[in-house]
């Protein structure tokens, strides 16, 4: 009897400490002043920490050096905001938003697509990069594939997509069967190169970058296209992500970003060397609110 009492008391202590942990976790980001203080604290420190997830050519860490299009953009923008130093840490893709909300870094520099579910969890800046889709196919494109509609229309084309990628949803909507799922872009290229799949669908920028940087791999990319599902063009755009509480930081960032996205030359001057073109510059009338609501611009 006494041991039972003892163990239930221990259980109560354990349960309450779990609860307490949960409460501490909540209060850390529910601080009302956090919005204003994060921006001023970063300006005072002169350093902002951003996270990347090895998404080439958007952002990655090579040895000690951070590289990529969004890094180039962020070094410029944050320095215009009075934050001269951008510290970069590399994390797993799926830890980006959880890590941001846990306070491990202050922004996500990965050209993350603006999607309704993600908007519920974090705050997105104005659109920075327009995404188009492309297909990686074996050299010579033996099946003559041009886009996902032609994959659906051609018999026996084995398509590979990133697990959880937006292209997986496209393939599903188009009724493409036998779709293979790969964990990362490198594996996607390998599956096409070794003949396990006939096409690999991903964003055009990433595929072109991979094809250009691996000249010995016998693959090529199709032209970029905007996939249409049920007559609706699937417009995707990537942006920088902040915590929802950091409203002042987000507003200041958007102001500084606008100077670049309204000027094609300034935009391409920063990201052109990573294979971006004027097509990747978001149109002025596309807003984050539209993309968060799930209505395409």
């Amino acid at each position: 009897m006494s041991t039972q009492k003892f163990s239930s008391a221990r259980l109560a202590i354990a349960a309450s400490s779990v609860l307490a942990l949960g409460l501490v976790g909540c209060s850390a980001t529910d601080d009302g002043d956090a919005g204003a203080s994060t921006l001023s604290a970063l300006q005072e420190a002169g350093t902002i920490t951003v996270a990347v997830a090895d998404e080439r050519p958007y952002s990655w860490v090579d040895g000690d050096e951070a590289m990529g299009a969004t890094i180039a953009m962020h070094e410029e923008i944050f320095s215009n905001m009075g934050i001269d130093n951008v510290d970069v840490i590399q994390v797993d893709w799926n830890s980006l938003i959880p890590g941001l909300n846990a306070g491990r870094f202050d922004a996500i520099s990965a050209g993350m697509s603006i999607l309704p579910e993600r908007c519920e969890a974090a705050a997105f800046s104005s659109p920075e990069i327009m995404y188009t889709t492309a297909l990686m196919v074996p050299e010579g494109n033996p099946q003559g594939i041009t886009d996902l509609d032609s994959v659906a229309a051609t018999d026996g084309v084995r398509l590979a997509v990133l697990a959880g990628g937006i292209e997986a949803g496209y393939a599903d909507s188009l009724g493409i069967t036998g779709v293979q799922s790969v964990p990362d872009a490198q594996t996607g290229m390998d599956t096409v190169a070794n003949g396990r799949a006939d096409a690999f669908a991903m964003t055009a920028i990433s595929l072109n970058y991979m094809a250009d940087n691996n000249p010995s791999v016998p693959v090529e990319t199709t032209g970029a296209f905007v996939q249409s599902i049920d007559g609706v063009d699937q417009v995707g755009a990537g942006a920088t992500v902040f915590r929802q509480a950091d409203t002042a930081l987000l507003a200041a960032y958007n102001d500084a970003l606008a100077d670049i996205t309204t000027d094609v030359d300034a935009y391409l001057g920063l990201v052109g060397e990573y294979g971006f073109t004027a097509e990747n510059l978001p149109p002025a009338d596309l807003t984050t609110a539209q993309l968060c609501a799930g209505t395409d611009g």
Binding site: G22, G25, C26, T29, W93, N94, I97, P98, N101, L115, E117, A121, R158, A160, A163, G164, A168, G178, Q180, S181, V182, P183, N194, G195, R196
Partner: protein, 217 residues
């Protein structure tokens, strides 16, 4: 955001998991169990009655398969047979891998058939085929059915390894949902509960089967 468990996410992920469960996990388990049960019996009979060199070769292959991890075998087959779809590779590898275990179970079952039964078949000058189909296998199966069932459950619990070869089974479907919604705990917990709900009643059934077969022996 910091709520540990969200019920609405749990209800959202449930249909995703169930579709992965029925379309992949259960399908692979059932087909692979059939392959393993049939191939395992063939292996056991060959090892016992085929000429010694053949039995030795089969024995070596069986040991080789049993001594290497199933993940390595899945990846090997995935990269070796590029024209075969990943799910077919999964079914074949699980079937062959577990057939080597089931062969050992059959061997024990065959060994448990009393020597007098073998002597009787000789006395009746039965054909090889009749000895196996009419006398040995029916008696051996009685002793082995429960152990075979346990291997089927074990295989069922190994199916998440399929995610290494790009097959979106229940757990992988849950992880993808988690990645898109930043909620892993709900998906993983419910996947675990589905595994439990499927394997626990099966193990009870196997327990009853074991008792029933034992009584009638």
């Amino acid at each position: 955001m910091n709520v540990v468990w969200e019920w609405d996410k749990a209800f959202e992920v449930l249909p995703v998991l169930l579709s992965g469960f029925f379309q992949v996990t259960l399908l692979v388990t059932v087909l692979s169990t059939v392959i393993a049960a049939v191939l395992g019996l063939v292996i056991a009979i060959v090892r016992r009655s085929a000429p010694r060199p053949i039995g030795r070769v089969v024995g070596f292959v069986v040991d080789f398969i049993r001594m290497t991890p199933i993940v390595v075998q899945l990846l090997f087959a995935y990269y070796a047979f590029l024209n075969v779809s990943p799910i077919v590779i999964g079914i074949a590898v699980f079937g062959i891998h577990y057939s080597t275990y089931m062969a050992e179970v059959y061997r024990a079952g065959i060994d448990s058939v009393p020597e007098s039964q073998w002597e009787a078949t000789t006395a009746l000058s039965m054909s090889r085929y009749r000895i196996w189909t009419a006398v040995v296998v029916p008696q051996a199966l009685r002793a082995t059915a429960p152990a075979l069932g346990n291997y089927a459950i074990s295989m069922f619990k190994d199916t998440p390894f399929l995610l290494t070869i790009g097959v979106v089974e229940m757990v992988q479907a849950g992880l993808i949902f988690g990645g898109n919604n930043f909620k892993y705990l709900e998906a993983i917990t419910i996947a675990g509960v589905i595994f439990l709900l499927a394997s626990y009643p099966t193990s009870l059934l196997i327990g009853r089967l074991e008792k029933r077969l034992a009584f009638s022996n």
